[in-house]
């Protein structure tokens, strides 16, 4: 499916393309070149190059305050970009860390928010069934559990058939078991709908188990990149552990002894800079 593309303020001059593109034949879904974002004196994003192929699942790691949310908000179109060049698909959807459901709208109306066709109820219902919430259509958001809220937020994002799905630590507040279930759900939905995904996370294991490519943001730039070619579902085997150690190294964390057997979620605490 060809997504309508938005090119906010395109430059005429050819931008230098030093960015590695996953599949160079296809036009990327997301493209940033030399992107800068600063708050006052604080340059949070400083000459960042990023390119995401259509349907690619990218995870973004980085220490707290490294600018992950800032980058995601830029891609979501929530922040001003000045006259810089930012290419994204027209249809984008965000899942925030806090589900941000409107408490005065029933669950299905939250999912249908902003949709304009006739059968919005049917579409919202279908999306909620996909995330396993077909039975909570008419519930008030305040009565949902944390996991259910996040699943509703996922349904609300997916019902728009986005070309780019932006996830800002959507599972950080969930318990380990629920988080693992959400991982499966996200992978299923992703292989079903094939949006490009940018997942911001603190959890290195989460990044490696889900993404095609893991990026590390540091000092306003993409400091490291790992292509993950392991078969899904991914067991924490030796190759997994090797990637994990490398990524933790990029994050400035001494890699602890490798976990064997069960997939143990890496503590979500902030990586030390």
């Amino acid at each position: 499916m060809v997504q309508p593309r938005i090119r906010r303020r395109a430059f005429d001059t050819a931008a230098p393309s030093s960015t590695p593109i996953a599949s160079p034949a296809v036009a990327p879904a997301v493209k940033l070149t030399g992107f800068v974002r600063q708050f006052g004196e604080n340059r949070v994003i400083d000459g960042l190059d990023l390119s995401i192929a259509p349907g690619e699942f990218v995870a973004l790691l980085g220490a707290s305050g490294s600018g992950k949310t800032t980058l995601l908000r830029t891609l979501a179109g929530l922040d001003p970009i000045g006259d810089q060049d930012v290419t994204t698909p027209g249809a984008r959807a965000v899942v925030f860390q806090d589900a941000r459901l409107l408490p005065w709208k029933k669950v299905w109306r939250n999912v249908a928010l902003g949709l304009k066709d006739k059968d919005v109820r049917a579409r919202a219902e279908a999306a909620l069934k996909e995330v396993g919430l077909g039975h909570r259509l008419d519930a008030w958001p305040s009565t949902l559990s944390g996991g259910e809220s996040q699943r509703t937020a996922l349904a609300r994002a997916l019902v728009r058939e986005p070309g780019l799905l932006l996830l800002d630590e959507p599972f950080a507040a969930l318990d380990a078991l629920t988080r693992l279930k959400m991982h499966d759900l996200v992978l299923n939905l992703w292989s079903e709908h094939k949006p490009a995904v940018l997942l911001v996370t603190h959890d290195v294991d989460e990044a490696i188990s889900l993404a095609d490519r893991v990026l590390v943001l540091n000092k306003g730039k993409i400091a490291a990149e790992e292509h993950i070619t392991l078969e899904r579902p991914r067991a924490p085997d030796a190759r997994f552990q090797a990637i994990r150690r490398r990524l933790l190294g990029h994050l400035g964390v001494e890699a602890p002894a490798p976990h064997e057997g069960a997939l143990i979620a890496f503590p979500t605490g902030e990586a030390v800079q």
């Binding site: 925030f96 941000r100 709208k105 958001p141």
Partner: protein, 236 residues
């Protein structure tokens, strides 16, 4: 005790009628249609005043709440207005509008505008910006954003203002109806005063109290309906 005092003559009829007399008078006034008719007139006045106040306060509250320049223009005016007790405007309104219905309705409107305005303004400004942002990211903007997100978010606070305004409206009604009323509860009271009928006065006072209570009950019901989504601190 009141009844006993009246029966034994400790409380003369001229000072305060006995409860039994009051009850009798209440039935008599109701049966004759005098009380309902006058009550209706008073209610219509309060309703008209409140309707004007609602229209003005909601417009101004949204204007000031949603835009910086709206706040700069509207809010100082409203704050100045607040410092003048509404009832102090009575003589001025009589000069401006005469002694007909207009000054009564105007007084109620003026007095009830501020509480509605202030609470709506606070409600709009207190809205969770993260929800607004999420809604914007799903394509809502302009009027649809106001309708789907900002107004519902400000509703709890709006209801606080509305309840307060209803209380004020009854209070102002009492005073406004002292202005040469040809009908209404105030008219009934004025007549009763001239004939020293304390029983009628007491009946009217009780009706005023009932008005206040039922106004509050009405808003509570509306609130329960409109805010059903809100988890309540106290179990219903």
């Amino acid at each position: 005790m009141w009844e006993l005092g009246s029966r034994l003559g400790f409380i003369p009829e001229r000072v305060l009628a006995a409860p039994s007399t009051v009850a009798e008078t209440f039935w008599a006034l109701t049966a004759s249609g005098e009380l309902p008719a006058n009550l209706l007139v008073s209610l219509a006045r309060a309703a008209a005043g409140l309707a004007i106040a609602l229209a003005v306060a909601v417009s101004l509250g949204l204007l000031a709440g949603l835009s910086r320049w709206g706040e700069t223009v509207v809010d100082p005016l409203m704050q100045i207005k607040r410092t003048i007790p509404s009832l102090a405007l009575t003589p001025l309104f009589i000069v401006w509008f005469g002694i007909g219905e207009t000054p009564k309705i105007a007084l109620i409107a003026v007095a009830t505008t501020f509480p509605i305005y202030l609470n709506l303004f606070a409600g709009v400004r207190g809205i969770d910006v993260r929800l607004v942002e999420a809604a914007r990211s799903f394509g809502l903007s302009g009027w649809s954003l106001v309708r789907e997100v900002i107004l519902p978010g400000a509703l709890p606070s709006f209801f606080v203002g509305l309840r307060y305004a209803l209380g004020v409206s009854v209070l102002v009604l009492v005073v406004a109806e002292q202005i040469n009323a040809q009908a209404g509860l105030g008219h009934l009271i004025n007549n009763a005063r001239d004939f020293m009928r304390t029983d009628i006065i007491v009946v009217c006072l009780l009706v005023y109290a009932l008005l206040g209570l039922s106004a509050d009950a009405l808003v509570r019901t509306l609130e329960r309906r409109a805010l059903a989504w809100r988890p309540s601190l106290v179990e219903q």
